[in-house]
C-alpha cells in the first residue's frame, strides 16, 4: 500500500487506521464480556478465548493460502469477529462447535469474498447463523446466572416470556439466561457510549434499528394493539448488542446517513416480524444479515447528488 500516490490537493489525515478502529471497538466490547464472565462464570471466558483463537488462526492460515501478506491478521478484524461471535453464543457451547464457528465466520463469511472490506455479510453473524441452523440443540441450551438456584439450563426471556417474572432491572443488568455478550445491557451501553463519543459509529443505525423494533413491538407485541411491552423487547435478547456493535460494521452497512436510517428501519422491521410471528424467538442476527444483502441496493438509491449535477 505504500507505493500508492494520492491526488495533489492537500488532504487532512484523520489518524484513523483500520487497526485503531478495530481495537477501539474491541475495547468498547470489553465491559459486556466482563459482565458475561461475571454472570455465567469462567465457561464464558473459555468460549471467548477459543472463539478468538479459532478466528485468528483461520485468518492467518487463509491469508497464507491466498498468498496475501500474513501480517494483515494483526489488523484486529479477526480478533473482533471472534469476540463478536463468542458474544452471540450460549456459555455452555461445546469446544468443537466454537472451532467450526470461527472457521465458518472467517473462511466462508469473509476470506472467500476477498477478505476484509469485501465481505457482503457480517462474518460473526454468518458463523452464528451457520451454527444456529446446523446444531439448534447446542445453540439453544442456555444457562442461568451462576447464582441462580437452578443453574442447569433455562430459556431466554424472549423464548419463555412471562414464565418467570423478569423485572426490567433483571434484564438491564443481565440477571437471566442468554448469550454471553447480550445479557448485560448496562455494560453494552457503556461501550456504545464510548463508540459514539469517539465517533467510531454514528447514531443513525442504532437509533432507527431499536426505535423501529420497539415501535412495532409496542403496536403488535401485546394482546390488542398499542399495548406491547416495548421496553421488554429492547432489553431482552440481542437487540442492543446487534444495533450498536453488529449492524454498524463498517464493511456491511450503507454509506450515507439516509441509507443508514433505511438500513436501521429494515433491520428493526425484520427483527420485530421474526420475534413476534416467526418460529425463532430471536431474529436480530437474521434481520441484520438480510439487510446486509440489501446494502448495495440502498447505497445505489441513496447516492449523494454531485454538486451542480443536473440529470
Amino acid at each position: 500500500m505504500n507505493n500508492l500516490t494520492v491526488s495533489p490537493a492537500p488532504h487532512i489525515t484523520s489518524g484513523q487506521t483500520t487497526q485503531k478502529i478495530m481495537f477501539k471497538v474491541v475495547l468498547a466490547l470489553l465491559p459486556a464480556g466482563l459482565a458475561g464472565i461475571y454472570i455465567f462464570g469462567l465457561s464464558s471466558l473459555r468460549v471467548i478465548l477459543i472463539s478468538i483463537v479459532s478466528c485468528v488462526m483461520s485468518e492467518a492460515i487463509f491469508l497464507k493460502l491466498r498468498k496475501r501478506d500474513p501480517k494483515a491478521v494483526l489488523d484486529g478484524s479477526a480478533l473482533l469477529t471472534g469476540l463478536l461471535l463468542a458474544y452471540n453464543l450460549p456459555p455452555e457451547i461445546p469446544f468443537w462447535l466454537l472451532v467450526v464457528g470461527g472457521c465458518v465466520s472467517i473462511v466462508i463469511g469473509k476470506q472467500l469474498f476477498g477478505g476484509l472490506g469485501h465481505n457482503i455479510f457480517n462474518p460473526a453473524l454468518v458463523g452464528r447463523v451457520f451454527l444456529h441452523i446446523s446444531w439448534p440443540l447446542y445453540m439453544t441450551t442456555w444457562k442461568n446466572p451462576r447464582w441462580a438456584v437452578d443453574a442447569v439450563s433455562t430459556a431466554t426471556p424472549l423464548a419463555n416470556e412471562g414464565a418467570r417474572g423478569f423485572t426490567y432491572m433483571d434484564l438491564f443488568l443481565g440477571n437471566h439466561g442468554g448469550c454471553i455478550g447480550e445479557v448485560c445491557i448496562a455494560a453494552l451501553l457503556i461501550g456504545a457510549a464510548f463508540l459514539i463519543f469517539t465517533k467510531i459509529i454514528s447514531w443513525h443505525i442504532p437509533v432507527s434499528f431499536m426505535g423501529t423494533a420497539m415501535f412495532l413491538a409496542w403496536i403488535f407485541g401485546g394482546d390488542g394493539f398499542f399495548n406491547g411491552d416495548f421496553i421488554f423487547h429492547l432489553l431482552a435478547g440481542g437487540l442492543v448488542l446487534g444495533a450498536f456493535f453488529m449492524a454498524t460494521d463498517y464493511v456491511t452497512r450503507p454509506l450515507t446517513k439516509m441509507g443508514k436510517i433505511i438500513f436501521g428501519i429494515g433491520c428493526g422491521v425484520l427483527t420485530a416480524v421474526i420475534r413476534l410471528n416467526g418460529s425463532y424467538p430471536e431474529g436480530v442476527s437474521y434481520a441484520i444479515l438480510f439487510m446486509n444483502a440489501m446494502v448495495p441496493l440502498i447505497d445505489r438509491y441513496t447516492k449523494t447528488r454531485k454538486y451542480g449535477f443536473v440529470k
Binding site: 466462508i108 451457520f130 441452523i133 446446523s134 446444531w135 439448534p136
Partner: protein, 195 residues
Amino acid sequence: MKKLLREFSKGIFIENPTFRLALGLCPTLAVSTSVINGFGMGVAATFVLLGSNIIVSAIRNFIPTKIRIPCFIVIIATFVTIVELMMKAYFPALSKSLGIFVPLIVVNCIVLGRAEAFASKHGISRSIFDAIGMGVGFTLALVLISAIRESLGNGTLLGLVIVRGFDPAILFILAPGALLVIGLLIGIVNYLTEK
C-alpha cells in the same frame, strides 16, 4: 472417432453443465440431499438427454425455426413421460423422494440447452456422444454435491452411517447448504481450470 470422444469428454470437465455452464441448477439444489437421489436424477436426465438429442438431431431439418422450442419440448416431454412411468413402476421409492423434479426434467435447462445449441445443429452420432458426455457430467456433479451434503448434513453416505457419534450439520441438508456447496465447488473448479 477422436472427434466423437472429444464431444463426450468435454461434458465431464471443460463444459461440465453444473460447474462450468451453471445449467440445471434448480434440480441440483433440490435433489442433491442424498447420493441415491442425486444419482437417480442424473441417470433420468441422461436418458432424457440422450433420447431428445437423437430425435432432435434426426429431424432437425424438418423443424421450422420459428416453432423449434415447442417442438423440442414435445420431444423432451415424451421421454420424460417414459422415464417417469418407468421409475414409478420399478423404483417407486426413488420416484417418491424425487417427486415433482422428475416431471420437471421437461424444462431442465441442460436438456433444452443441448437440443437448442447442439443437437439441432449437428449430426446424430455427434449428438449421441454430446448427450452421453453431458449426462455423465451432470450425474458426476450431482453425485459429488450430494455426497458432500449427505455426509456432512446427515452423517451418512448411501444411507450408511459413516462415523458414529458425529453430530451432523443440518444446514447442509437444507437449501443454504446446497448453495454453499455448489458455490464452493464452482470456485474450486474455476481455480483448477484457470491454472
